[in-house]
Symmetry: C2
Subunit: 428 residues, 2 copies
Amino acid sequence: MSTIVSLETDDVRFPTSLSLDGSDAMNPDPDYSAAYVRLRTDAGDGLAGHGFVFTIGRGNDVQVAAIRSLAPYVVARDTEALLADLGGFWRELVHDSQLRWLGPEKGVMHMAVGAVVNALWDLKAKRAGLPLWQLLARMSPAEIVDLVDFRYLSDALTRDEALKILEEARAGRADRETELIRTGYPAYTTTPGWLGYDDDKLARLCREAVGSGFAQIKLKVGGDRDDDVRRLRIAREAVGPDVRIAVDANQRWDVAEAIDWIAALAPFDVAWVEEPTSPDDVLAHAAIARAIAPIPVATGEHMANRVMAKQFLQARALGVLQIDATRVSGINENLAMLLLAAKFGVRVCPHAGGVGLCELVQHLSMFDYVAVTGTTNDRMIEYVDHLHEHFVTPVTIRDGHYVTPVAPGAGAEMLAVSIDRYRFTGNA
Amino acid sequence: MSTIVSLETDDVRFPTSLSLDGSDAMNPDPDYSAAYVRLRTDAGDGLAGHGFVFTIGRGNDVQVAAIRSLAPYVVARDTEALLADLGGFWRELVHDSQLRWLGPEKGVMHMAVGAVVNALWDLKAKRAGLPLWQLLARMSPAEIVDLVDFRYLSDALTRDEALKILEEARAGRADRETELIRTGYPAYTTTPGWLGYDDDKLARLCREAVGSGFAQIKLKVGGDRDDDVRRLRIAREAVGPDVRIAVDANQRWDVAEAIDWIAALAPFDVAWVEEPTSPDDVLAHAAIARAIAPIPVATGEHMANRVMAKQFLQARALGVLQIDATRVSGINENLAMLLLAAKFGVRVCPHAGGVGLCELVQHLSMFDYVAVTGTTNDRMIEYVDHLHEHFVTPVTIRDGHYVTPVAPGAGAEMLAVSIDRYRFTGNA
């Protein structure tokens, strides 16, 4: 028996804007940052739970303050009791009526809850000696659905329907674990496509991506239409006809503009169009999806919660759901989104990149493969080759696949030296 | 010429949970709070701009931190230049790419921007020697549309369409100003209906509301169905057949439950059903609205931004739009919502209560009457008789109407003695 003795936070910011890594039409100069949290116990086993919210710079201090405000909800509590009922803990925080007012269930406070929940998942997986994907994939269907809050979902997915999906995938779990460890999980790369890169660098990085075994790359678009057409032509020439090219507009367009602009890009065989407009706009995405079919709409990295995911699926407003590891309220809410996607037969291709998002989100796709959908067909996890060196268990890519992690934990733990070196000390 | 010399914040919390004022099915024990901001200049005129975000207790410190993080965007800037282009200032903050990541355009950071924007509006109105409603209502249509960001709105409302709405309402502005000052603006009251009140108090407060000239009251529902039926019967008997009774479920239900529950309440002649489910759920509200017609759905106090308002209107998911003064990003975004509602022919009945929300939001309805829709038909502003004594220019109610304010400013300024007395000093 042990107690959570501290919730520690750090404001960590990497000066990525200096190299234009991560530059897109909405985010010209991001400084990839983490509002970082560490939960320590008095168990004497040396294990701590690590979590974070990814941000892109200014405001990271506010995100840290939100996480710190949750200390009274975890410090001095019984570790084993918390870890045994993470569904209950999630409900306790997300439905805290006073905190809820600050969203509800969206934005800074919702993401803060997610970071704390994920730190507990990290601790739970470390204690179990398993990578998070495997811990989740070995839970019973009943245990898994207990983690999910079905409030506001019942018109699309009930607890019983979710249970049925998980029960049907139960056969073959062990075989898929073995297969996953053998082959890894398919990846695609956004490394070539940042808007700030010149044409030569774009072409070179495209060729390198193909050489590294990636079957799909992604280009940022939405800044200037002529530039987009030129860059897409360069990319298509560099990768050849068989590698898929997705494009990402990062919310730049209104409906009519999106449809027009995409028509100009369609001749280059576009794999999907990502974030064409506001991430809140279910109806606009549905209108765009109808207009650009058969090119699918992809979105999700800025989807505030499971209620938004439900509506995008109900309205057929997306063809690819891009869950994000730190946008919603942690693993629990992402499980809800995986189950919703499975119900609607829509593929999940997680958003990643930033700092640490690859490390975290791979566990969700791998769990999905083993215990929910049983397939990786047309599924891929985004990959960007930035900042992995700051993690204790960085992702590894081999032949265009994520190498399946076997180290215990959720992947969130950052090196202490990196935190010390990149701790933000400027004025907030 | 002057400069903004400081952005000061206060964490102000009133212990309202002790009396169960404000208790409803989702918020059993709110402590009405303000994350308060004050902008001072070196103009030497003694005028400061005041604004705040309303919260219900825990987390108010996080909201304060978010407001404080915006100091670099206003301090040391030219006051007159800022006040001359509040549309530009709004875009600068809301579209700041790094801050935007924390929403986008929702939750703690979005509301923080709103508080700072509103403090500038307060200062602008004080400098003009006009109440905010009158300052706005005397601006030209072109000046008004320049305040609005039409990004993501153009599939429902263009700048030209908004301009046309305002131009058409230009005739008669002066007459309506006079009429408004003479008669005030219709109000309805939620004072009788909090869930924590017993039946005798409910009946007494209902009779008092009728005696005070209110034509509509509102009851909180959604805790227990039998209790709701009993309380609605008591209220209907107390007010008689001619006073309207609205009900408010504060997001308690899923779709099927909402439709069932409302069927049990319908025999008591329900004026509207407020917040039946998640404020993010356009499609669920649309399904409920179709099922309970002709009883209208009302919602909006937790609507994150203008993009959500647009969709609720497009989907006919509400019949009454309840804008809130501090949920979205300030006056500018509320102007967008008023114009959207006018385009769709949907009435706006603002959410108020809490602390200071009546003082703020009345200006928006009054502006709407004079310069947008030209009517108060079926429109009302919510009124709750709590905590007005803490404001420099508290609202006054006469014969069921808000008395039109004539004091300069936006109504946000709290008494210094109240701030000092209720400044939160506990652990956050």
